[in-house]
Symmetry: C2
Subunit: 199 residues, 2 copies
């Protein structure tokens, strides 16, 4: 039996993410992807059932999974609230800075009904994504350190600005006057931390 070429498997994923980042999800086609990855369209269908399957797996595994792994690495329950949140902000920035195409598809996850639905279903079937963060925040509430909001609200308050700032970072990456420097990012992080503290 002919062994599978892992380079081709990887090429499909990374070229797909690249094309999505450059031209948008709405302009990705299987034939364009095959040509750009230097493979036959059929090869994609050996690994994915159809286009939706490819997009969903790309989003769940390459984007959400890889991101979760990157930011939860080194996150411990014995960290203070400040340390934990700063850890996630820093790791997120570092991760996406070197994985811009993953960031682009992550953003599409917030708008595309296909990806959105896939995320909801995955969350139900496989247990909460970002469970370590959920757990970390729950502990801080129990300690009386931070305000007791539902998890989704805490997530919005602590991390929605971060996504916006990383987006801003990329938009200014080839221009003068980058507003998102590491110092600004840390100051912004301290701002969201301070807001959520119980006074």
């Amino acid at each position: 039996m002919r062994p599978k070429n892992l380079e081709k498997e990887q090429a499909i994923k990374s070229v797909a993410l690249q094309l999505i980042a450059e031209e948008g999800l709405e302009n990705l086609s299987m034939q364009k992807l095959a040509k750009a990855a230097n493979i036959s369209p059929r090869t994609i269908y050996l690994k994915y059932a159809d286009k939706d399957d490819l997009l969903i797996k790309l989003y769940i595994e390459e984007v959400l999974g890889a991101y979760e792994a990157a930011i939860t690495e080194g996150l411990h329950d014995n960290m203070t609230f400040e340390e934990g949140v700063k850890h996630i902000w820093m790791k997120s920035f570092e991760y996406y800075k070197t994985n811009q195409p993953a960031f682009a598809l992550m953003l599409y996850g917030k708008s595309s009904p296909l990806l959105n639905k896939a995320f909801q279903e995955m969350n139900i079937k496989e247990g909460q994504y970002f469970a370590p963060i959920h757990q970390f925040l729950e502990l801080q509430v129990k300690k009386g350190k931070i305000k007791d909001f539902p998890f989704t609200v805490q997530r919005a308050l602590l991390f929605a600005p971060l996504t916006d700032l990383i987006n801003e970072y990329f938009e200014h990456i080839n221009r003068s006057g980058q507003p998102v420097t590491p110092q600004i990012l840390m100051a912004a992080c301290e701002t969201v931390i301070d807001g959520l503290l119980k006074k």
Copy 2:
């Protein structure tokens, strides 16, 4: 000369937004739109040069323009920082609650390169979008009331969580346990306000 039917003009816009919200920008086609709006494909081309032109105008005029008008109405420079930010949060929530399709396309504006680019160019040509908010925040900085961040950073800290929360609101609208109630929203708003205050 036969007068134009304004209902059809309006139908194109509202049906397009609806289809995008339901099936995603990546699944919108001109023929589908024509059929859903009960018009001929040609009619769309009488009002828009091509598909990109339609999407860009929909995004800039119907989504960003209408939203800006909705939230800046009643925003005055003599409001306190707290009043101003709460005003924008409340108006935003009210506006999007009754314009979910506009919210869906607004989200695509953050991911789609086409819409993103259109927004940048519009901002350069026509002057800053959300200028009243820019001006309001600048005044608060001058007064020494809030931390002096670049505008984009202030926007991220004050309003990115709001977008996330409205999204969350829609995702729970037909389910039990809605986490985004008006009270929670106001408490979250107070949290972002508190974070940005100069201490």
